[in-house]
Symmetry: C2
Subunit: 369 residues, 2 copies
C-alpha cells in the first residue's frame, strides 16, 4: 500500500513516507554534468551513439533541458540503438510542474551553450583504468566549490533534487565505492539490458593496481584516483544543502551509492534529510542491486522510485525503456518524485507529459523549432 500514487517505496518505506509527508514549498533541481574518458572505453557505456559521442552527451542533455533541442550539435543523445536520452523525461517533468532548475558544470568535455553554473575547478575526468581520474587536489576543490552553492543560491529553497549526466558514471561510481572500501562489485547498473559487469570490474581492478594505498577512508584521495568530477560535486552540493537545512533528493540510480559513500566517509548524518530518488527500471533491474548498495553504505537512507511505465506509449523509442534500455539519468526519477512531493502534478500527468514531449521532439516541434 503506497502513500503517494506513483511513488514506489523501494527501501526503508517508513523513511520514504516520512519524507513524502514533508510539505516543502520552495524546490530547486540541479543537474551536475561532467565527462570521464572512461566512457570512451569500447562497450562500457551506451549513453551515446558511439564511444566518442558519449563525451558530448552531458552538454547536449542540459541544452535539451533548457531549449527542448540541442544547440552545439544536431540531435539529442541516443544509445547506439537510437533510444533517446532520459533528458526527455526530465524536461517533461520540469515544464509540466514549473520546477526551477539549473545545470552545474563540473567538467563537461563540451561546454553547453546555455547559462549554467560553472565550478572554477571543473575538469574532464581521466580514463580510470590507465590514468588518474583527476589531478591531485581537484576532488577536494570541487567538493568545496560545490558546497559554496549552499551559502549563496540554496538559500532560495527548502528542497533540492540533484541529478547527473555522466556517461561511464556507473563504472567510476564503482571505482569510488570500491576505493572507499565498499564491495560494490556486480551491483551497479547500466544503460543497456546487457550490463558489462565483467568489463567494469576489469577497468576498476586495473585502476586499483595503478593507485597506491587503496582502499582509503579519504574520499578526496579515492576520487582523485578512481572517480570523476560529477559524484564528488553532487556530494558537495548535498553538504551545502544540509548546512542550510534543505531536504535532499539524490536523483539517480546505483551511482548514488558513490555519493553516499563520499558523504559517509565525511561523517555526514543523513537520517530524515535525504532520500535516493530513482526510477522503477532501476529497482527492477536484474543486473544490479541498488538496495544492497545502500544497505552496505548507510542503511538509514530510504530509496523511492517513480513508477514510470511506457508500455502503452505510442512511441517505440519510449517503449524500449521497458526492455531495459536507459533506465535512469539526468535525474529522470528524482525529478518526478520532486514534482509529486510538491503536489504539482500526478503520476499520469507526468507520463502524458513525457509522451507529449517526445512526440513534439520526433515531429520536430520542439519549442524552438
Amino acid at each position: 500500500m503506497v502513500e503517494v500514487e506513483g511513488v514506489i517505496e523501494a527501501y526503508n518505506p517508513e523513511g520514504v513516507r516520512k519524507f513524502f509527508r514533508l510539505r516543502p514549498s520552495k524546490p530547486l533541481a540541479l543537474y551536475v554534468i561532467g565527462s570521464t574518458k572512461t566512457s570512451t572505453i569500447p562497450k562500457i557505456s551506451v549513453a551515446g551513439a558511439t564511444p566518442q559521442a558519449t563525451m558530448f552527451t552531458p552538454a547536449l542533455d542540459v541544452e535539451y533541458l533548457v531549449y527542448g533541442r540541442t544547440v552545439s550539435m544536431k540531435g539529442i543523445p541516443v544509445t547506439p540503438e537510437g533510444i533517446p536520452t532520459p533528458a526527455v523525461l526530465t524536461r517533461a517533468v520540469l515544464n509540466t510542474s514549473n520546477l526551477p532548475f539549473f545545470a552545474v558544470d563540473s567538467g563537461s568535455y563540451l561546454e553547453p551553450k546555455i547559462p549554467k553554473i560553472t565550478l572554477p575547478s571543473k575538469t574532464v575526468g581521466g580514463r580510470i583504468d590507465i590514468e588518474e581520474a583527476l589531478p591531485e587536489g581537484t576532488s577536494e576543490r570541487l567538493f568545496n566549490e560545490a558546497k559554496a552553492i549552499g551559502r549563496t543560491l540554496l538559500r532560495c529553497c527548502d528542497v533540492v533534487a540533484i541529478g547527473e549526466s555522466i556517461p561511464g558514471g556507473t563504472t567510476t561510481a564503482l571505482g569510488i565505492m570500491v576505493s572507499l572500501g565498499y564491495r560494490a562489485w556486480d551491483l551497479v547498473s547500466s544503460a543497456g539490458p546487457q550490463n558489462p559487469l565483467d568489463l567494469k570490474r576489469r577497468v576498476v581492478t586495473k585502476g586499483l593496481e595503478r593507485c597506491k594505498d587503496l582502499p582509503t577512508k579519504d574520499p578526496f584521495k579515492a576520487n582523485d584516483c578512481l572517480g570523476d568530477p560529477v559524484h564528488i560535486t553532487m556530494a558537495g552540493i548535498v553538504a551545502g544543502a544540509l548546512e542550510n537545512d534543505l531536504k535532499v533528493i539524490l536523483a539517480g540510480g546505483t551511482q548514488m551509492g558513490a555519493v553516499l559513500a563520499i558523504l559517509k566517509r565525511l561523517n555526514f548524518e543523513l537520517k530524515d534529510k535525504l532520500i535516493i530518488g530513482t526510477t522503477r527500471w532501476i529497482i527492477e533491474d536484474p543486473t544490479s542491486d541498488i538496495v544492497r548498495i545502500v544497505k552496505m553504505i548507510d542503511k538509514e537512507v530510504p530509496i523511492a522510485a517513480f513508477d514510470y511505465n511506457f508500455s502503452d506509449s505510442p512511441y517505440e523509442g519510449l517503449r524500449y525503456y521497458e526492455k531495459g534500455f536507459v533506465k535512469e539519468g539526468v535525474g529522470a526519477g528524482g525529478t518526478a518524485l520532486l514534482a509529486l512531493l510538491l503536489g504539482r502534478t500526478s503520476r499520469n500527468d507526468i507520463i502524458k507529459a513525457v509522451y507529449n514531449e517526445y512526440g513534439n521532439l520526433i515531429r520536430g516541434e520542439g519549442p524552438e523549432g
Copy 2:
C-alpha cells in the same frame, strides 16, 4: 512622508509605494560581472587602486560576496584612496537577511574562484574610444542567454534584484544611451567626488565617430559598438524575469539608464513591474542626475533609494562614503531595498550589519580568515 523606514522615494513616489506594498516571498539577487577595457583609460574609473587593477575588481567583488574575503588575489577592491568596495555593504545585507544570491559572469577579465553562472558568450569589452565594445552579434547572444535564465532558475522566485560590477560602467552606459538616441551627456555618476564628465564625453564622442549609423534604434548594434557585456546581460535577465511574472529591482545608479534604454528599444512594458533601486548617495550626487535620465527614457519607472548613512560610522573607510566616494555598486542600494521589501530587516539593522562586516574585514576576521 515615506511609507517604509529607510526607503527614499526619489522619483514617482506612488510607483515606489505600490511596489513596496507587494508581498513577495521568494527573492533572488543576481550580480552581473564583466570587464570593459574602457576602465583602463587613466582617470576614468576609481573602481580599483590603479587603472589596471580595475580589470580585477568584478571577480574580486563577487569572491568577497561569497567568502567574505578575496581568493584570486589578496585584498578587496579599493579606490586609489583605499576606500572599500560596496561589496562590503551588499554582503552585509545578504547575510543579515539570508537572501539567496548568485554571480553571473558576462565577461570578467579575471575568472572568479566561486561557483557562478557563466554565459556561453561571455566576452571582455573593448576600449570604446578606439575599438568595438563587443564582436558583432555578441550583444544579442548575451541578451538571449541571459533571458534563458528566466526559463530555468528564475522559476524559483517572485522578485529578483539585479546588480552589477563593471568598472568604467558609467562611461559605457553613457555610450549605450547616447547611441540609442538619449542625450545623457553630463548626467551619469562616478565613484569619486570629482566626476570626470569631460573625459567620459571625449571617450564616447570618439567612439561615436568610429561607429557607423549611430544613433540607432537597435540596442544590440548600439551595444556591440559602444557598450559592454554587463548592461545587455542585465536587460536579458529582466526580459526573462518579466516572462515569468517576477518583479524586478534594477540595483544600481545612473548606469541603470542604459538597461532601461535597451529594454525600451525592445518595447518592454515596465510599468508596475520594475523599479530602480539605488542609494541616497546617487540621489544626492550633485555631478549626475538619475531622475533626469529615467524621465528621458521611461518616465513610468520609479526610483527608490536606500537611506544609507555612515556619518556615525566608527570606521574612516565608510565615512568617506559621505564625502562622495563610491556611492553605489554591486547592487548595494537595491539589495538593501530587497531586504526591506521582504520585511527581513530594518534600516538600522542593515547599517549596523555593514559596520560589523567592515569591522571584521579590517580586523582580518573574515569568516574564512
